[in-house]
Amino acid sequence: MSRCCMLSTSSSGRGRLTIAGRRGAGHRSQRRHRGMIAHPFKIALLVLLLCGNASASELVSLRIENQAGDEAKSFAATTLVGRDARLQLLVTGELSDGSQLDWTHQVNYAAEPPGIADINDSGLVTPLANGSVTITAKSENGKAAQATLQVTGFDQNAAVSFPSQVAPIFTKLGCNGGGCHGKASGQNGFKLSLLGFEPQADYERLIKESRSRRMSLAAPDQSLLLLKATNVSPHGGGQRLDRDSHEYRLIRRWISQGMPYGSGDEPQVVSIDVFPDQRRLGKTDSQQLAVVATYSDDSTEDVTQATVYESNDTEMADVTPSGLVKLQNMVGDVAVMARYQGHVTAFRADIPLGATDNWTEDQWPEPRNVIDQFVYQKLKSLGIPPAPECDDATYLRRVTLDIAGRLPTLAEVQQFQQDTRENKRETLVDRLLDSDDYAHYFARKWSTILRNRRTSGSLQLPNLAFHRWIRESIRENKPYDLFVRELMTASGSMISNPPVAWFKQVPDTNQRVEDAAQLFLGQRIQCARCHHHPYEKWSQKNYAQLSAFFTLVSTKTNGDPNEPAFFSRVGGAAARHPKTNQSLPPAGLDSAELSVPSTDDPRVHLADWMTDPENPFFARSLANRYWKHFMGRGIVEPEDDMRVTNPPSNPELLDAMAQSFVESGYDIKSLVRMICRSRVYSSAADANEDNLGDRRSYSRFYPKRLQAEVLLDAVNQVTLSTTPFAGMPAGTRAIELPDTGFSSYFLDVFGEPNSATACECERSQEANLAQSLHLLNSDEMQKKLAADGGRAAKLAADGRSDEDKVRELYLIALSRQPQPAELTAAINYLAAKENKREAYEDVVWTLVNSKEFMFNH
């Protein structure tokens, strides 16, 4: 059927019929369709063809998911308690091809007996009277489903609870956000706690501050709170609330009840669940979500309307405030986060392409390791075909840039071409991992996020010592757990024990705990210093307990104040909760409290917890960080923000890599080997129609921009020039620099970070005009191109034919032979110019300004 239904029945086929049809033959027909649509005859033919063989894909049955006592299959939100209750119905349609689709917004609802509950077109139920009511949902083609709901407590004018009913409204409407009343200083004299985490304080402010003028018990509608929220009294935040809304009525009733706080012992939300939690959907489909909160007394409540939703990729999916997810025209997977009262959960949707549904097993590449296994498992499930393997020249350039941070030399290119050994790629990876360049390149990466940063103008000994320690650790392949342990527990002076420099660079306990969590656990906990963050699970207590490990770190100076020694004091490791002032013992995240003997350095216990093979964060975080380095996009993206509401695109892959990393004894080189030897890493970057749209399933290699230092070194390598760096020996390459304090316009403009934070995001990979101008036109570039000992001068003076020289230049710059058209263009250009040296400058200029040069592909 597919589109043909839509085309052939477009006049009568309103609403779901068209969508039901589209579901049928899937997306391949849609694609096939694309090139043909212009021709009426072809469309007619297609209609015939497709309708002829498509027997399936009509709506065959409906199901209302809200069913009591059937929690395994659906969800049990079937009771509305009290007059403020609301309940979201979820209706699922099953199609004749077995697929399931949300039908909530495409049915007519009826309630029997009348007068018990009201249902709108979106399936939202509101109570009218106590009783039992049977809901019937009916589709246009006559399929029907039923569910029975109970309304209780409608007649009881139960007291509205401020913390569990009123405060969440402020969150949903954005009143207590950081830009408005939630900021530390409040807004126009009215302050609320950020995102409603302190309802007691909010209550006090609302009721007691400003001579209680915010509330009017005598005339609730005249309460300043409601006048402002409805913008009747001019409100800087505009209208937030409609007079004719559930929220308005609820607040109004709360005021008229005398503004009770609540009993104080009302049940607390202990978890929230979203339904469905996972669905396989088609492009442009939509899905209504429902959210149910579970309370400490085991009762449950539908909180769909009070929940705040957010899509993790708005290019793939949008979500409305009432929880309707609308997919865009893309395949892949997307998550929608839901949060209510400090709890978060996520809905995940897969949007398959289906292009490989008819593939046989032998059409898939043979997996070489767990990476291939899980990437292909996902590609199979989404029906995205993998790209073919890249050629040798591309692989050599790619892996040399990724491991050694440089272009392959001419000799390496020629050698690799001639090498006929079966395992030459494996051998290459080993050779690169054993090279100095690997140590330099990854020392640069780590030194930047470990904030190895000079404190004044000139390079200082501690910076050099710290960089050297990092570099040598990488060179000798120090097990990662040991590397982190030596950093976290470092004591002594910077010269005697260089990793101590980290404690100098990251000067206070808060920054240390935040950096350590972000660097080694992939957790950003800085928000939890001041408040429970809505997207995170970490509380201020978690923060305080993690920081307790660092509270005994002290310094002493042995005469030289610039060379302090760090040590751990004897004492009880503890940190105070900022709100309760309670003294808390150290504890890892999601981990039991520890009692650390006062003679122990608590940091040793921290390192023990971090590097424990069972630690759920440590190995995953490193695996994800390295995956991002090689594959261009983290399984969790950004790579150091692995919170629960930012789920991995391929959790099995991440788990498998982490497990393998732990089992190897935290052997980083072996992790790199596993990635670089995988079939997935050696996929071509080129895309076909089916995998072009893939942005996170790794069906092909995603091209990566060369980072500032690598680009500068590559330009120097091709032009045969060097860049001087103050205080460093002549010929020092940019990836060898010990810190980021060297003055270089080139590095600045291409996004070199300042090492001011532990975040990889400080490195900017964005394009801008200044970069283009610099590479196309700067004095610096022109000097490199035109230098007497430079590449152009050498080639011009070389007696070989232009063809030979252009071929060699391509090998040097792009590690490959030129295509015939490229060769002809260059030869013609050279032939037309009288000044050979200038002409070669122009050809070199052209190559370094090409996208192929500036990217690792």
């Binding site: 950081g178 800085q526 080129d686 895309a687 003055s743 316009y745 250009y829 996208k851």
Partner: protein, 447 residues
Amino acid sequence: MLTILGKASRYCDGVSRRGFLRIGGLSMGAGAFTLADLYRAEAASSDPRPHKALINIFLAGGPPHQDMWEIKTEAPSEIRGEFRPIKTNVPGIEICEVFKNLAGLMDKAAVIRSVVGCRGGHDAYQCMSGWEQNSLQSIGGRPSIGSSISKLYGPVDPSVPPFIGLAQPTKHGPWAHPGKAGFLGSAHGPFKPDGPGMANMTLNGISIDRLSDRRKLLQEVDTLRRDIDITGTMEGMDAFGQRALDVLTSSKLVDALDLSKEDPKIVQRYGDGKPYQYQYDGAPTCNEQLLMARRLIEAGARVVSLSYGRWDSHGQNFDLVRDHGGKLDQCLSALIEDLDSRGMLDDVTIAVWGEFGRTPKINKNAGRDHWNRVSCAYLAGGGMRTGQAIGATNRLGEEPSERPVHMQEVVATLYHNLGIDTSSVAIVDPTGRPQYLVDHEPIGELI
């Protein structure tokens, strides 16, 4: 052929270009903006409405608040000083007698006589950002207004940077800082007409014909598929590459800095601020920079900052104000009239202020010393409700007696005039935390 080399940008201080290159070596480059900015800019360029802009004129050293916009006639002579107030074209508002031209334009401006919140340091930091220098230092500090606007809006014209700092290097460095990028990183720093970014805007060592030949060859061989890049950066680089080549053949930016392209009568109306007096370690009274600022905004700049004079009047306060004030009166009144006659005044805000005020008591050198309990500001244009004097100091000019206005309220007003709702717009810092631009609200009386 190219005619844009050479003396396009003028340094009225007489400092050699070489000196600038050395001192300004760390300054960042031309129009550092992103692909998204480019697309936004191209969408915006089809928008017939003029863009909102800001000229932030920093009176380095701290102008004497009691000798500018509020003369303390009731104070005793050791405090009052030498100046008398004059009437303005707004009944009831009087300002210092040296601002004769501005008095006739009072309806287009507002003076704030009760600015508070000055930290007391001799730097432009608070006037450029609203924040004290130590705020968020561990992640690079707070971005200045121009940097935030660069981040939030990008450029109007992709070949003209959205944020331009005209301040020339001063011996006391912090007076010349045009506003920092802070945690936004150098891509959003001020474009300075003396850095390598500027040098890259004119051809370096090759002819236009040769550039054109290179360009043709590049088009032939640069054929890697662009759509395989999931980040979109390749297409962005192409777009910027094209822009860069356009800039090299005709630069609106270089032209805007070239006052020889301006009507001589208008140049004359602004004056040149010479001879420079009382300059010491500060900026010259370079009137032409105000005209450059207008030309840059016409070319597409959103925020232009500059440092005007050296108001640190520990001695000869009254002579200094007569000199600096008279010159400022000429160029500032010229700027207001000029913007007004071009129909730009409603879209362009002019802010004129310094880092703090000065002591009520006149010292033995006829000077006034540092006083951070109160300061002043002069605002014009920007679609504000002008023709007002806001706030007042007590009889001796020691502190606000009514309506203290925090420096951040002034900055919030500037953001407001630039179209930013400071209560909802936040920029995510490198640690992932959303940072609001200021903590105070715009000045209600003005918006």
